[in-house]
């Protein structure tokens, strides 16, 4: 069963003015689509990998044979990271986390402002291409991390519940070199209900 490009859960223009429609369309139909295509090419002919879920592939990615390891890390990670990214954003979102997620953030970071500061710094300081993450680690604790390129937190045993793409393709058409402005604007798109859903699922 080949992997497929998921549809966006909203229109390409839904995240404007924070993320423009042209960026969303290229990001989804070109960049994400290429990761899906190349992931399918990489695992084709490897019968032992055929039935595995994306999460299973990534959890074991570092132990794959040399011939396909980096392709699965790059393109499998690219597929998983973007699939999460689309879901944790939405039209007219933003605001503050609530309920159990807000409790978890307070317990882990002291308060929401401190969490935001740490997450934004992780996104701003990632040199080159990569991602900032809020993950539930193996012990069930919330942590802010950052990964290079398309490396997935799943490879480290983490469950990502919020991710921010800081590859230049995610923001260059609208923000050019101003990555901090993109990061600040992106908070206005965060779908905290979805993040809370992922947080609860990570603890089951």
């Amino acid at each position: 069963m080949a992997f497929e490009l998921p549809s966006l859960p909203y229109d390409y223009s839904a995240l404007e003015p924070h993320i423009d429609a042209r960026t969303m369309e290229i990001h989804h139909t070109k960049h994400h689509n290429t990761y899906v295509t190349k992931l399918n090419e990489a695992i084709q002919g490897h019968a032992n990998l055929a039935g595995k879920s994306l999460e299973e592939l990534l959890a074991g990615a570092r132990n794959l044979p040399d011939s396909i390891r980096q392709a699965v890390i790059n393109h499998g990670g690219g597929h998983a990271n973007h699939t999460l990214f689309w879901q944790i954003m939405g039209k007219g979102k933003g605001g503050e986390p609530a309920g159990v997620l807000a409790d978890g953030i307070q317990a882990a970071f002291g308060n929401v402002a401190e969490f935001r500061a740490q997450f934004s710094a992780a996104a701003a300081n990632r040199f080159g291409s990569g991602w900032a993450w809020l993950v539930v680690d193996k012990s069930g604790k919330l942590r802010v991390t950052s990964t290079a390129n398309q490396d997935s937190p799943i490879m480290d045993g983490h469950k990502p519940i919020l991710g921010l793409d800081v590859w230049e393709h995610a923001y260059y058409l609208h923000y050019q070199n101003r990555r901090p402005d993109y990061i600040a604007a992106w908070w206005n798109t965060v779908n905290w209900d979805k993040v809370t859903e992922f947080y609860k699922a990570a603890h089951q």
Partner: protein, 196 residues
Amino acid sequence: MPITLPDLPYARNALEPHISAETLEFHHGKHHNAYVTNLNKLIAGKPEEGKSLEEIILSAEGPVFNNAAQVWNHTFYWSCLKPGGGGEPGGELADAIRRDFGSFQAFRDALADAAATQFGSGWAWLVAEGGRLKVVKTPNADLPMRHGQTALLTIDVWEHAYYIDYRNARPKYVETVIDHLLNWDFAAKNYQKAGG
């Protein structure tokens, strides 16, 4: 003596239509400039402050290395491009390319492949190492001088180098640079300095 941003060796619109003035305005005026500014801030009052850019690159790690190497990489990259460039080199460098790659076409394919397959941000290079020519790729700020190699030519494949003009079509940008912009006179000078 602070590190300074060098001028572009041509006008901002000189590489059009292959690389737009808008791209160079951001790439030189913002990205390259930010590496210079960040580096000077990072080394202010530190032992690195009196060192040359090359000395800093060869000894530093982390953010100081990243910013110093990116200052060097971009200065080098500007000289690797020129209006009316591309084509094939002549003289000793052409002979060396045939000797080490088999043909100019094989070299061209190797450089295009390295540039297309550098995953994430980075650079593709023609280098001299131990009297031989090689094509290599480096991630992020990494560069040949940290690997005992002499850079002859480079292509910047950070997305900021081509996203305004080519979007996700990195291979098209790379082929355009190779065919229309590469400055073989500059490469030949670097080859001579490397000892041929």
